[in-house]
């Protein structure tokens, strides 16, 4: 008995010796990529040089993936602190291939510190690429990988996607800039609500059309949110763009405009501007046999924030009534423009009508969901806007 317990004791001690630091990897020995951009293959000069010496993937390349690595490796911390005011804080590295995962692993051939995806925040796809390759192919690795968080946001870019991950401002990390810009939605409803990887997973499986925020980039390293790109559900490819005003209309329909503005001109041809303080909407689907129709009830309250009309005083009830009408007309036009684009130009539904129908009429939805985009383009949509100017700011006669 005593011998047995000694034996067990020895075994336990041995097991202590066996367990090294199994999967321990210090954080500073890896590099974090916070942004990723995919473009249609276009090899960088560095890549071409490396390829001539036998590097790179020797297949017909399709995709160039650029990752944004932070922070930069620095030698000697004292100097780094002194210079931190002027140098870039990030590094963009490109790699070309035809499998995202292969590209990711190829970074290990190029860089000493292995890249880890836990902190991926934004994923930008160029429309050029999204037009050619189905989105679910591009995103498959991101959705499967265990490291990458499903909360990473997805964007489209009009130009080269890798340009959106550049910035000339020192100390700024472009990926964070994009992520934080989305939060400005409370100030401007021309920003589309964040679309994360999990949302996309749902869209892909439901073969649903959707839109992604578009980013435009300038050579100076500035970027702007410019409307949205439409991804057609049946093909999973990019088919066209919505401009900023269309996007604003979508926010109105979805009752998602908690901030932003409406700008129009009044009868005397001077500019008047309305600041949105609240915007609610209700989509009411009506099913009448085969005919589908929607009624959208939009209620908004806000403030007359700017008027270039020196003739009128804002405190007059008549003036406010007139302004309200003008704003309502403006909003109506915006909505109609959007409906035209959705129903006739692109024949997609990306404003959430389908979702509403699914909730209120699940049985009908089951029948129509397979070619929802087509059916929606034949549906009639009516709007009822009630806009109320609650105040005219602190300035009046």
């Amino acid at each position: 008995m005593r011998r047995l317990s000694y034996l067990i004791g020895m075994m336990l001690l041995c097991s202590l010796l066996l367990t090294g630091c199994w999967s321990s990897k210090e954080i500073e020995e890896r590099s974090v990529y916070v942004g990723m951009a995919v473009d249609l293959a276009n090899k960088t000069t560095a890549e071409k040089q490396l390829e001539s010496q036998g590097g790179g993937t020797q297949v017909q390349p399709l995709i160039t993936a650029t990752i944004q690595i932070v922070p930069l490796k620095s030698v000697g911390r004292g100097q780094q602190q002194a210079e931190s005011g002027s140098i870039k804080k990030y590094l963009n590295v490109s790699e070309t291939g035809n499998s995202i995962f292969e590209i990711m692993r190829n970074y290990s051939l190029k860089r000493d510190r292995a890249v880890i995806g836990h902190h991926l925040k934004v994923f930008v796809i160029s429309t050029e690429l999204a037009e050619k390759i189905e989105l679910h192919k591009l995103l498959d690795f991101l959705l499967r990988d265990n490291d990458i968080r499903p909360s990473s946001m997805v964007f489209l870019s009009r130009g080269k996607a890798m340009d959106t991950l550049e910035s000339d401002e020192p100390d700024e990390i472009p990926a964070f800039r994009i992520r934080d810009m989305v939060r400005n939605k409370f100030r401007n409803n021309k920003i589309y609500k964040e679309v994360i990887l999990t949302n996309l997973d749902g869209y892909f499986h439901a073969k649903q059309s959707f839109i992604l925020q578009n980013i435009a980039a300038a050579d100076t390293g500035e970027i702007e949110f410019t409307g949205a790109g439409i991804i057609k559900g049946s093909t999973n490819k990019w088919i066209g763009d919505l401009d900023q005003e269309n996007l604003s209309a979508i926010s109105w329909i979805q009752g998602d405009s908690s901030g932003g503005l409406l700008k129009t001109v009044n009868d005397r041809n001077s500019i008047i501007t309305y600041e949105i303080l609240s915007g609610e909407s209700k989509i009411i689907p009506k099913v009448d046999g085969e005919r589908l129709s929607f009624h959208v009830d939009i209620k908004t309250e806000g403030r007359l924030i700017e008027t270039w009309d020196a003739e009128e005083t804002a405190s007059k009830a008549f003036f406010l009534k007139e302004a309200e009408q003008k704003f309502e007309q403006k909003l109506e036009t915006m909505l109609q423009n959007l409906m035209k684009k959705m129903q006739t130009e692109y024949k997609v539904e990306v404003a959430g009508f389908g979702d509403r129908l699914r909730i209120t009429h699940p049985k009908v939805w089951k029948k129509v969901k397979d070619d929802w985009d087509d059916i929606f383009s034949r549906a009639t949509v009516s709007f009822d806007i009630s806009l109320k100017i609650t105040d005219y700011g602190s300035s009046t006669e």
């Binding site: 067990i8 210090e26 954080i27 974090v32 000697g76 964070f176």
Partner: protein, 591 residues
Amino acid sequence: MWSKVIEYFPDWKAWMQAIVMTLIALGSYRIHGRLYKWGYNQPKQDGQQQGNSHQQGDGQPQNIAQQKVDGQQQGENQQQNDGQQPSDPWQQPQSQPSPQLTGNYDADMALIKEQLGNNSDVHFRDFRISIRNSRAVLIFVEGMQNEALINRQVMQNLMDNSFVKFEGYAMHNQSQAFAAYLKDKLLPISKISEVTDLYELEQSILFGFTALLIDGLPHALLVGEPAPKVRAINEPTSEALLRGPRIGFTEVLGENTALLRQHGRGADLELKMIEVGSRIKRNLVIAYMKEIVNKELLQEVEDRIANMNMDFISESGYVEQLIEDNWLSPFQQVQNTERPDRVISALLEGRIGILLDGTPFALIVPVTFSMLLQSPEDYYERWLPGSLLRTLRFFVAFLALMIPALYISFISFHPGLIPTELAITIIETRQGVPFPSLIEVLILEVSIEILREAGIRLPKPIGPAMGIVGGLIIGDAAVQAGIVSPILVIAVAVTAISSFAIPIYSAGITLRILRFSGMLFAATLGMFGTILFFLFICSHLTKLKSFGVPYITPASPYRFNDWKDLVLRAPVTLMKRRPSMLKPQDKKRRS
């Protein structure tokens, strides 16, 4: 169909893993059991050997005088004790009775000198008593007698016969009458007693009594009380409070019991004195509330104290270690405190206090985990601040235990769990650090522990200066030198501060020990290891008992009523009952 079923059976690897896991669990259980028993048996075996060598059974309990004492009369009781206990079983075998004083001055002196004369601090002051002109000697130990009292009340009166009246004591040449005369007329001292037993006389002298031996008297007189070296009653340094009594125990048992009595009138408080230590004896008092305490618990405590077998109990820490349930546990199963109010309120909950002579630290048994994070102030403040502070302390205990382990597992295993911006900062600051996180944390934690240990021993004037040098400069310099990262300095500083926020010092030490093993767990298995470590502690705590009371009792076993006084402290008006975990006789606190 069978092939389908067999398909679902795991292959031999899975079986092997299962068997190994079972063996490890069983093995560690067995080893723990063995180790536990080994430590528990050790003192008992010693006791038997000792008993055999002296041809004495270890009938310790019978030999221990048990008597009630009143705090204020402790000195007198001391004398009675000496009187009632003529011999110590192993020092004075009963076959050879202790020699008695004969009354023959020279013979007695020779005997005493033979026993005590080798001690340089025992003084013999010879003089002559004027009224009988007989020889007399004062025997005392240097520094322990009350010198002024002896000089004025004894020496002066005996040597000066100018105003002595003999009436009624005419037969003063008879020794008995003379003794009575001495006591009644000559020696104006409140405490005086006669001793005939030589052994007892020696002990009393060595304890600090002054003995007066007079030619012709068959007994010695103990005239002076020992004047022990006493410290003033101070605020307890290890358990300072903002609100609450600023009184702490001292080294004198009599004063400590008096402090307990002084808390208020009421005959409920019972103090039971037991003599402990086999070579050097000391008094120990078991304090409890007669009407509240659970009788079985009291019996258990008395038994364990009676079974202590130690030549000398120098501090209550010895008592704690000799009566605790599990010597392998890092958690204390006996609480020590310097605060009389803490003891009293524990007694009122049905717990038992143990006070030892010579130490300001009283013990409270049984202990439950929540007591380690409670401070008397929780009850003195109103219930909201009390609850807030107590919740904070639970949180702080968690921090003190886990921060380094969490740091290691985040840095080395789970970079994805750190918020991105912080992760980037950590990467930036750690780039120059040449060590893996475990070594990094160990460097800083060990130096903090060194600082703390050194801080206790630093001379008072330079202590704070060294603290600043150690804490600020070494920390900053270590970052500058690139040995540790600044984030870690924050983590370690928070850990160090957290462990000071725990109201019981020894509980803080427990957390310090566990913190290091937590770090090792984290370094090998990451977050999984950290959680494993936490579960280990939880399962150990669940199994631990203090005097039969489960250690984390309101939580497990679950007692809903006692939750009122666990993490939150319910309003006093709601706490109508005493904690039911102690099964007190009187359950109600307020009706």
